[in-house]
Symmetry: C2
Subunit: 518 residues, 2 copies
């Protein structure tokens, strides 16, 4: 039970997610945290911020103040310091750790440099006996780049409010797994937590309480914090359903069929005021969320709300024969507004199943994964996040979906190679019915790490047996950094089964015995 080495192979073989190409040597060199330098050939604000952050992640036990006289350490060379954080931004990097302990990162953009810093931080070893930091298994050479450009997690601040400190901590944890999209499901039937400059009454009447709201500045701060970590924030304003909380202040744009307190509401497409209102509200928020994408929901529409005298009359004048026609109209109106605001639109897969959005829309698959093929065959870009019956999908609220089940899922299943580029990535979806700041991280991690590796690494990385010890080490690193990751194995949100190491299944190593992980 004692003194298990968590890893005995060269550490470069332990990285999570697994890099595409790496070679290792057999030398160990001690590095001095007091003189180790972080230098940029040409810098950016994000890189400078990361240098400060990663100094304490490299050297967590050092309590000395920032050193005065710096020696050689890390040099980061970025080719294009102006590259913006957008879908498809180049995140590739090469990383070399030399025999003298110095390192060189070369990256096309700062976003790639951030991923390199994360890799390098996972390679710093600390020896409690000597008190020394070192790089082992060097020289190390890594060539790495993500497999998919969109690697996200959805959090749901409409069903439970997630406080700003919690969201920031969550962004930290995402960066450790090299994820790059926070899909922020902000509004729901249940609550409307986000400030609106044009319509302040939306949160005033739609938030859960006088505690559970985001100010304009709160959101701006989160977006900036995310950018510093190379994470895009894509806001979702779910509509025309999942929108009941808007009705508290604006019943006039809701379908008459569902105006009672007890019913779930739906926006009224028969009312031109609906679209002018939504355009004004979204225009406001587009100043707050600089990302090029806007998620406009469109799942689980309570179409029966439109089954009322006024809407039926309007449908007749429009030549619409059923609620799918109405839904299609709504989706296309909203895509048009989004385009006017300079945004591309993401919809849940109902917008593909029951409507025909513009060809530049992105469809997020949450129903059966077999739909992915149909979406891309129809020429749409697709995001993989099938719920897989809450057991074999990427819905993190499916507590029976183990990390192993999540790990073996493959977004390109049955996708022809000429369509593969249309699959832009995937997301783990942490729906908020039973998740609030108390258990968010505990429910997401470590399972979302399986998703992160599937989306980053070579598809040949598909053995859960090979992955498990790496994932256990990654979990230990998450805990060491203050992330509240649950245990590796079992269901989501399982408590540790009994006393034990962070790997939970430590094995007693007899004298000379090889590590269980080899």
């Amino acid at each position: 039970m004692f003194q298990a080495l968590l890893w005995q192979l060269p550490l470069a073989a332990a990285l999570w997610p697994k890099p595409h190409i790496y070679t290792t040597g057999s030398t160990t060199v001690v590095v001095n945290p007091s003189t180790y330098s972080f230098q940029a050939v040409a810098t950016t604000p994000e890189l400078e911020d990361a240098f400060v952050r990663y100094r304490s992640l490299f050297f967590p036990h050092s309590t000395s103040p920032a050193p005065q006289a710096l020696d050689a350490g890390l040099v980061v060379d970025i080719f294009d310091t102006k590259a913006d954080l957008i879908l498809g931004a180049d995140e590739s990097y090469t990383l070399d750790i030399n025999l003298d302990g110095t390192s060189v990162v070369a990256a096309k953009t700062v976003w790639g440099a951030l991923r390199a810093l994360e890799s390098l931080s996972q390679l710093v070893d600390f020896n409690f006996s000597t008190g020394q930091y070192s790089f082992s298994g060097i020289p190390v050479h890594i060539e790495d780049a993500p497999r998919f450009p969109h690697r996200g997690i959805l959090i749901d601040s409409g069903r439970h409010f997630e406080s700003v400190p919690q969201v920031k901590a969550f962004l930290d944890s995402m960066a450790y797994a090299k994820m790059n999209v926070l899909h922020w499901h902000l509004t729901e039937d249940e609550s409307f937590p986000i400030a609106s400059r044009s319509f302040p009454e939306l949160p005033q009447k739609g938030a859960y309480s006088d505690f559970e709201q985001y100010t304009w500045e709160d959101i701006a701060e989160v977006v900036k914090y995310a950018r510093m970590r190379g994470i895009r924030v894509i806001p979702e304003f779910d509509m025309p359903g999942h929108s009941t909380s808007w009705r508290n202040s604006h019943p006039e744009i809701f379908a008459e069929g569902c105006l009672s307190q007890s019913s779930r509401g739906a926006f009224d497409p028969a009312n031109n005021q609906t679209f002018s209102f939504l355009e004004a509200a979204l225009k406001d928020w587009s100043a707050l969320f600089p990302d090029g994408f806007l998620h406009l929901g469109s799942d689980e529409v309570p179409a029966s709300c439109w089954n009322n005298t006024k809407d039926l009359a309007w449908m007749k004048t429009m030549g619409f024969s059923n609620s799918s026609d109405v839904f299609n109209y709504f989706v296309n109106q909203m895509a048009g507004i989004s385009q006017k605001l300079g945004r591309q639109t993401i919809f849940w897969d109902e917008a593909f199943l029951s409507a025909k959005p513009p060809q530049d829309a992105v469809i997020q698959n949450w129903h059966d994964a077999s739909l992915m093929q149909k979406i891309v065959d129809a020429g749409y870009r697709a995001i993989y996040s099938s719920n897989g019956g809450y057991t074999n999908g990427w819905y993190l609220d499916g507590l029976k979906a183990t990390w192993e089940n999540m790990y073996v899922l493959e977004p390109l299943t049955n996708i022809s190679s000429d369509k593969a580029h249309l699959v832009i990535g995937g997301e783990g979806c942490m729906w908020g019915e039973t998740v609030d700041p108390s258990d968010l991280e505990f429910t997401v991690w470590p399972r979302a790490a399986a998703i992160a590796e599937r989306l980053w690494s070579d598809p040949s990385a598909n053995s859960t047996a090979e992955a498990e010890p790496r994932l256990q080490r990654f979990r230990c690193q998450l805990l060491a950094r203050g992330v509240h990751s649950g245990v590796v194995g079992g269901q989501g949100r399982d408590a540790p089964p009994g006393p034990g190491s962070c790997v939970q299944k430590p094995k007693v190593l007899a004298q000379g015995e090889q590590s269980v992980f080899i």
Copy 2:
């Protein structure tokens, strides 16, 4: 479901823990975060640190940099800036919020001033509609002091390693509840995570892994961090049982009866080397833990380990007739060592039940609470932390122990008034079998808040109905500050039952309807 006010009485009536005396008015005054000043008549490092910390707790939505031109704000007047953080340090304070929004704190020591800052921070209101901070229900006058001087939580880093960032975050959360003792159960049968300067082999061979150890500097940093928050750190080195992890490196001081890998070990009192070794080890750590108290365990001793030829022969020479005599000898030897090191000793209640420690020892009650009376009647000081059958006690690993059950327990039950001063306080015990950084905060909070109030507030505060809305508001504040508190109600570690506010049971307020909390 929408827009419930979390509190409608004057906020001073919402404080957790409840202050002893408070009066409120009916005026509201806006305060400007950009110019609000924190000033000390005479200052200390801890107060200066707290001023920085509480500025962001007062004004969490302000992202402006520290203001240049300060206006009136808070003035703190400390009578004795030299008062050390010890058992019984004066934590009383008075707090006045005046009609112009300025505040005055008067405290005998900085430790009382820290409690006052926490109270004041819970009284700052933020209005999302106007973007303004305010004090309402003013003028406020508070006179407050803790009922018991020892208000603690035990965490168990021997069964699961708790990383330094997690322990620091935990200390933050304790300070929010005005708790002042971290009882750090550091070593266990399962692992030995703490550095030793004289015996580095202890963690080298006793820790779970090469990840799960505290360096000397890590511990020093935690102790300093705690002091800044007015929290004493009392280390526990459990012995002579619960010590198996020491045996990996030092089998020579263990009883021969339990030397096999599979058995739980016990120190060997027949061996003088045992005591010289333990004295040297404890002398080391006494430099690291400045507190005047040292906890030396003594619970659940596997006395059968002493039932071997060597120890039986030794017992005969000592005139000992049974293992209780041996245990008594061990306890008194260790109390003597502790005294040589300038420390008072705390023991678990077996040291009272089966031995007779020196009269200046403190006995921590974990068996039935009826023992408290016997402990103080015998003239010992006592700490209340009965497990209450894991349902009606202060063992936080008893998940069936609800906050209500914890709240109504009374440490002075059946204690005569002339002995009451011997009850120095109590502790919630968060044993670590199924708790690690993933679920520590989630399991402790909000239930430990019930303990915190019992130990701070007037004993007349004993209605769970009165306490519940205050506790819900306190939980919302914990979440807003990034503490992972579970829901109020139900068992420990319950996930939120469904979508909802941080209070989980929001009620729709009709126009003019009174708050559900009044």
